[in-house]
């Protein structure tokens, strides 16, 4: 069944003069530009000018106007009483977010349809080759989709008028900059032999670059959609599964991308690259994935220990192959801790492969990142669940505390390093949180210091996380209650 939001918006837009006006204006502008360019015919390839103008117009509409429309649509849905009515229908957050993005995309297609005849004219005037044109259209649409998803996410975030104004201002500036940055690309592709020329000289590499770029544009959009859906999910619902899947997808994507690059280098190299390239890629992937898991660990381990009855049902009612998945994807801090430890395996495996190969350094750095992540996450977890549990009661507060812990330690040790004699910083560098894993590269800091801190601190932190996971593994359901800090949405009771 078609998305109701898509049908609703299309029905509304048919009667909306603004959209029809833009559509007709684009048609008229396209026709006028085509006529002028075709009549002038003083250059060697007049179609080039036409294609550049049309590409600027269509990306302007797709990458600037459409995302802003998606933002307005989402913000308006959230702002008005109509959001309540939509929530009550039981439409899933995913369906709502997809509906908004799909609407934006369909509107984008309408705009492209208005410009399509003139793009065809540009092609006939030899301003652009067929391959470049197809890639341009795919890129423009993929970009529109992702930017629409980003705008939808931002549309979900603004709770007050001030934040909404701030967000829309930021989005407008960012979209405008992005659009302007894209200008040289379109000018460049028409100046030489276009993308088709690059692909012709190296077909495999060229198509891989195109496919990888498109995939990552879409992946970024998918991540924005997942975050938007999570923000829209009921506070008592399962808000853990989708973000954790997204974390895994990004980690796997890093592995595949670096693995793919290495494989491609081996395949196309004339210098006889071998397994050392793969080892290097595995080592880099291990470090990057571990850093990603460490950053996202801030979010997964800080969830509430208690789960709502609805969240408990997610864990208890999973059957078959879904059941083991809930051990890492299920809601609650216990499963969040297990997720952090389990997801880190995605980094350990390539790091280990790298270690077995030519270079042990990436493995050491990966281990250091894990050690420091374990140290700070464990320390933060212990602090916020025991001594400070009375004051730090929400996931947001826990995340802020953890961030403060890392930032504070880094700042403090950095200041001490500056203040104290040159020989002393060595003492403090290993506990400089975020900086330490890379500092051991400098000759002045012995690697052993970092290793000791990471091994001892990280080991203890990890142990704490494991114990914490075991202690609260059996979910303790608790009714989800309102926050006392909530603002009355109606103001009049």
């Amino acid at each position: 069944m078609m998305n109701p939001l898509l049908i609703r918006t299309l029905r509304q837009e048919v009667r909306n003069r603004a959209f029809l006006g833009i559509y007709l204006a684009l048609l008229a502008a396209g026709a006028l530009t085509s006529a002028v360019v075709a009549a002038s015919n003083d250059g060697e390839r007049p179609g080039q000018i036409l294609f550049v103008i049309l590409s600027l117009a269509s990306t302007g509409a797709l990458w600037f106007y459409q995302p802003l429309t998606a933002y307005r649509a989402m913000a308006r849905e959230r702002e008005d009483d109509t959001w309540d009515l939509m929530e009550l229908t039981g439409m899933s957050p995913g369906r709502i977010a997809r509906g908004i993005v799909a609407t934006s995309l369909v509107q984008g297609l309408f705009i492209l349809a208005a410009l399509a005849p003139f793009l065809a004219v540009a092609y006939l005037l030899r301003g652009v080759d067929a391959v470049t044109l197809v890639i341009f259209l795919a890129g423009a649409l993929a970009g529109a989709l992702s930017l629409g998803a980003l705008a939808t996410l931002l549309g979900c975030m603004g709770k007050t008028k001030a934040t909404r104004t701030g967000l829309v201002s930021l989005l407008t500036i960012a979209l405008l900059l992005l659009w302007m940055i894209s200008w040289p690309i379109w000018i460049e592709v028409t100046r030489r032999s276009g993308i088709a020329g690059a692909i012709a000289s190296n077909p495999l590499g060229g198509w891989l670059v195109v496919a990888t770029t498109l995939w990552h544009i879409l992946l970024a959009g998918g991540l924005c959609l997942i975050l938007a859906m999570t923000l829209m999910t009921h506070r008592a619902g399962d808000r853990s599964r989708l973000p954790r899947i997204a974390v895994l997808v990004v980690a796997i994507d890093i592995l595949l991308l670096l693995g793919g690059i290495a494989w491609f280098e081996i395949l196309t190299s004339v210098r006889g690259y071998g397994s050392d390239v793969l080892d290097e890629a595995a080592g880099t992937a291990g470090m990057l994935v571990m850093a990603w898991i460490a950053i996202t660990g801030f979010f997964t381990i800080t969830e509430d220990e208690h789960v709502s009855l609805r969240q408990m049902r997610v864990i208890e009612q999973a059957r078959g192959w879904r059941r083991p998945l809930t051990w890492i994807l299920g809601p609650g801090a216990a499963r969040g801790r297990v997720f952090f430890l389990a997801a880190s395996l995605l980094a350990w495996i390539p790091a280990f492969i790298s270690w077995q190969g030519t270079d042990s350094e990436p493995f050491q750095v990966t281990a250091l990142i894990f050690g420091y992540a374990g140290l700070f996450l464990g320390l933060g977890d212990a602090l916020t669940r025991t001594i400070a549990a009375r004051w730090i009661t929400t996931p947001l507060a826990r995340r802020a505390t953890l961030f403060g812990l890392v930032a504070g330690t880094t700042l403090l040790t950095s200041l001490l390093s500056i203040m104290i004699d040159d020989s002393w910083p060595m003492m403090f560098n290993p506990i400089m949180g975020s900086a330490s894993p890379t500092i051991h590269h400098q000759d002045s800091v012995p690697f052993a210091w970092c290793a000791i801190v990471a091994l001892v601190g990280g080991g203890m932190g990890t142990l704490w996380l494991v114990i914490g996971a075991f202690r609260s593994w059996i979910p303790r359901p608790r009714q989800t209650l309102a926050s006392t800090e909530d603002r009355n949405p109606r103001g009049d009771g």
Partner: protein, 320 residues
């Protein structure tokens, strides 16, 4: 267990306690009137019951399902009409209802039947092609009611649906609600037009500063108020008494004014309405005093309390 059950519901916003320990219940086929001054906590309670907000403590249940932990299931059972919800722009009446039928995932056949059924029930047939934003307030309220009914819910939560309606639209809307209870729906309705709730409701709940002041059948609440008033000291113990003479007497207003505890609200040559301090005994004493003065009194009866009297008596208009 009642179809709708609110148990010890509390909701605070910062330091403001919007709802405090509210407990009430009502069943299928009943209309529950929710009465309270502005800011009393009616809308907050209704939003929690409609799964749109969370309680600070306590719970609401619809057909035994928690509005927090089973929100998705509860949403299938309720229809909510918020105060001030406007239809989408650039959409006709039919398209508006069709959108919600699709959003409720009713399917093409059932959805179409639901839209037609609702348009027929709410008498929207003649305006199905009109833009919803151009409808009169009365028609918009009917459309909103139609939206509430599109998925055939068991419980309707209506937040001041009569606000801003002209008398005819109000009467027509009231008739629609009566027809709905005939179909077994439970209705929770808030309104400031108490005479309307007096006629419409089976049960009422009066709330002030987030606290439940009285609740039960309309007669029970009136009786509670009457009893409270009869035992109350001083000016709180008042009643309106209608008096009528068998024949015209020009001088009786002065006689009435001389009676202790009597304040004349209205008086003509043959009938009068007075506010009398005291209970039944004082009323009998007044009748006797008037007859002793030679007045041919043929009617002396305390006026039956309306919800407005009860409301005024039970609340003091305090806001938080």
């Amino acid at each position: 267990m009642s179809l709708v059950q609110i148990d010890h519901l509390c909701r605070s916003f910062g330091g403001v306690h919007a709802v405090r320990d509210l407990s009430l219940n009502f069943d299928a086929g009943q209309i529950m009137g929710f009465i309270g001054p502005n800011g009393a906590g009616k809308s907050t309670s209704m939003r929690i019951l409609a799964t749109l907000d969370l309680p600070s403590s306590g719970d609401c249940r619809v057909a035994g399902l928690s509005t927090v932990d089973d929100a998705d299931a509860v949403r299938r059972l309720i229809g909510f009409m918020p105060d001030g919800g406007e239809p989408y722009p650039h959409m006709t009446v039919w398209e508006y209802l069709d959108f919600f039928a699709r959003a409720y995932d009713l399917g093409p056949v059932k959805g179409r039947q639901a839209v037609e059924g609702v348009m027929d029930f709410c008498q929207l047939d003649g305006i199905s092609g009109k833009l919803a934003s151009t409808l009169s307030k009365g028609m918009r309220q009917r459309l909103s009611l139609g939206r509430c009914l599109i998925h055939d819910p068991q419980v309707l939560i209506l937040d001041e649906p009569s606000a801003g309606l002209d008398p005819r639209a109000r009467i027509e809307f009231r008739d629609l609600l009566k027809a709905l209870t005939g179909r077994g729906k439970a209705v929770l309705i808030s309104s400031h037009i108490l005479s309307e709730l007096d006629e419409l409701c089976d049960r009422v709940a009066i709330i002030e500063q987030g606290r439940l002041v009285a609740h039960g059948t309309v007669e029970d609440v009136k009786s509670q108020a009457r009893q409270a008033r009869d035992v109350a000291p001083g000016p709180d113990r008042q009643r309106l008494v209608d008096l009528r003479l068998a024949e015209d007497r020009a001088e009786w207003e002065r006689t009435l004014a001389e009676q202790p505890g009597v304040r004349i609200e209205r008086c003509d040559r043959r009938s009068a309405t007075v506010r009398l301090e005291g209970g039944d005994a004082d009323q009998a004493r007044l009748a006797k005093a008037l007859m002793d003065r030679g007045l041919p009194l043929c009617h002396c009866a305390a006026r039956a309390d309306g919800l407005e009297d009860v409301f005024m008596h039970l609340t003091d208009g305090a806001v938080q």
